[in-house]
């Protein structure tokens, strides 16, 4: 996988974010009308998620409509940025050279305090591996591809 972004640059989402794997160019890699607000938030160091105006449920930023009530419009709300480690894995063999230079690194799933699961990069305090249940707080940084992304800093000790 490669990207057309270089480290430290501001991403122009109007051009999309190209993801190539072998001879294939993969779809749905770019901000769409449903996800633009998330990436605009990342630019401002804000973690934006969706919320149903009718039933009030918080939802993953990729959702287009409310899968629960099927009726409510969604609006963007800023998450507190706090949550817990739901699961994790330290990658030793990366899927491509762009990441292998950083290996080992930890990818995982965070349960936001709002009840939404996000896949992310976990940055353990002082290295090592996190534990399920550890508290996390959002941070923003450019990862290996040059893309600025929300990551989560791990604070040891369960909530």
């Amino acid at each position: 996988m490669t990207s057309n972004q270089s480290a430290g640059t501001t991403i122009d989402w109007s051009e999309g974010f190209r993801v190539v794997a072998g001879h294939m160019e993969l779809g749905l890699t770019e901000a769409s009308p449903e996800t633009q607000g998330f990436w605009d938030g990342v630019e401002r160091d804000q973690l934006m998620i969706k919320r149903c105006v009718r039933c009030g449920r918080h939802l993953h930023p990729r959702r287009m409509g409310c899968p629960d009530c099927w009726q409510g419009d969604l609006r963007w709300v800023e998450a507190t940025g706090g949550g817990t480690v739901y699961s994790f894995s330290t990658v030793h063999r990366a899927p491509a050279a762009v990441w292998q230079a950083s290996a080992p690194y930890c990818v995982g799933i965070v349960w936001l305090d709002e009840g939404v699961a996000l896949f992310t990069r976990l940055v353990p305090d002082g290295g090592g591996e996190p534990s399920i249940g550890d508290r996390v707080v959002v941070s923003f940084r450019a990862l290996e591809s040059g893309q600025k992304l929300p990551v989560f800093l791990v604070r040891e000790g369960r909530s």
Binding site: M1, F17, V19, A21, G22, H23, M24, L26, G27, L28, T29, E30, A31, T35, L59, H60, P61, R62, R63, P67, Y86, S87, F88, S89, T90, V91, H92, R93, A94, P95, A96, V98, W99, S102, P104, Y105, V107, G108, I109, W111, V116, A117, L118, F119, T120, R121, E129, I132, L143, E144, S145, Q147, L149
Partner: protein, 408 residues
């Protein structure tokens, strides 16, 4: 299942089957299309029917190494058939077994008599399977930019499984060890020539994505394979061969595309009790299959599961019902699927040691060979009934078939 369903266990049968294997180093590098076509010709010949009797042709989705928009139409034209019905059946890696179930529904409708199903690929001969697979299993926008490998996505489930059930890496390693022992006896198994391994070998192999070591992970098949099957109603099958393999029961469950979508699922099976990663659709698929077959796990002589990582052996064993939920690790650790004396499980070596080729029916072919008493590897003496499980996506789509050499 609705009460008046005609899809009762044993109503349909596989009347012809064939599997074609390609290996790295073959004289000629063969394409997935070529393998599908050769398997199809052989399966139709094995069924003893003419091509004009084929009422429907189903294929798995276009292999990544042969990425055309309507792969099924390419197969049709190579065979010079023009059936009434055709489609690619796609539910990730579960699609191949789903195809047999849909073929059964088609012939039970009475609309056509014979459905030809083709499956398989040989991606490893043509593309970088590690790189491309990682980008298919993760959401390209919200997950892939973090650099997950395919093992690291499945490892999210493994970590939860260990956390929730107390299963251990030693128990996972045991599954890899026993798979290798079956593979050593199978002429097509990728790891047959590597010999047996120990739990220590697994745990001292390098970490790929914690907690998974190299030997906890299935190798991509060094080549590829294609299997084709002809499905018809059982009475028709019996009219032209005395050893059809009956489809006794089947089930499916499809829950998500991405792991974080799975965690948005609650209130419906298999997440009735709240969001989770570990109660997979295999639970629901197995329940449906056993109900249709009127059988229980104890009635089976052997089983195959799509377990690309060692922890999935105990997880699938418990979810299909071979031991109580939460007990898979202890079941495997206690010798439950030992090559010597355990329940015959992944008898061709499983993905872990046969190798993973994806979108195929090679695990079903192993079941067919075993219940017909024609195993290519180590036979299970007296085997009559077998279960095969397929899954795809990151544990997203699950499909199960129970087959047998006897109709009831």
């Amino acid at each position: 299942m609705s009460g008046h369903s005609a899809a009762h266990g044993g109503a349909t049968a596989i009347v012809g089957s064939a599997t074609v294997v390609a290996r790295e180093g073959d004289d000629r590098r063969r394409t997935a299309l070529e393998l599908h076509v050769e398997a199809a010709r052989r399966a139709v010949a094995d069924a003893g029917i003419s091509r004009s009797q084929i009422g429907a042709v189903l294929t798995t989705r276009a292999p990544r190494s042969y990425d055309v928009r309507q792969f099924n139409m390419r197969v049709l034209n190579e065979l010079k058939v023009a059936p009434s019905y055709t489609s690619e059946i796609t539910a990730h890696g579960a699609g191949a077994l789903s195809m047999l179930q849909i073929a059964s529904m088609i012939v039970l409708s009475g609309t056509v008599d014979y459905v030809l199903c083709t499956s398989g690929n040989c991606d490893k001969l043509w593309i970088d399977t590690v790189k491309t697979n990682a980008t298919i299993e993760a959401d390209p926008q919200f997950e892939a930019p973090y650099g997950p490998s395919t093992p690291s996505l499945y490892a999210q489930v493994a970590q939860r499984y260990m956390h929730e059930s107390g299963a251990s890496v030693e128990q996972f390693a045991r599954a890899a060890v026993e798979s290798r022992r079956w593979a050593v006896h199978h002429p097509d198994a990728a790891m047959a020539h590597k010999g047996e391994i120990t739990v220590d070998d697994v745990l001292s192999s390098r970490l790929i994505a914690s907690p998974l070591h190299l030997l906890d992970c299935a190798p991509w098949y060094p080549g590829g394979n294609s299997s084709a099957m002809v499905v018809t109603r059982s009475e028709r099958a019996e009219s032209h061969r005395d050893d059809p393999v009956y489809l006794l029961g089947w089930g499916q469950s499809n829950t998500h595309e991405w792991l974080t979508d799975r965690l948005g699922l609650d209130g419906i099976a298999p997440a009735e009790s709240g969001p989770n990663l570990t109660r997979t659709g295999a639970i629901a698929a197995a329940r449906q299959a056993f109900a249709m077959a009127g059988l229980a796990p104890g009635d089976l002589d052997l089983a195959q599961t799509s377990a690309p990582f060692s922890f999935l052996v105990p997880l699938m064993l418990e979810q299909i019902g071979f031991c109580p939920e939460g007990e898979g690790g202890r079941f495997v650790g206690g010798g439950g699927v030992d090559f010597d004396g355990g329940f015959p499980f992944n008898t061709s070596g499983g993905y872990l040691s046969y190798g993973q080729s994806g979108q195929g029916l090679y695990l079903l072919q192993e079941c067919i060979d075993q219940v017909r008493g024609r195993a290519r590897g180590r036979p299970v003496p007296g085997a009559r009934r077998a279960l095969v499980h397929g899954h795809g996506g990151p544990l997203a789509c699950h499909s199960i078939l129970i087959v047998g050499s006897e109709r009831g």
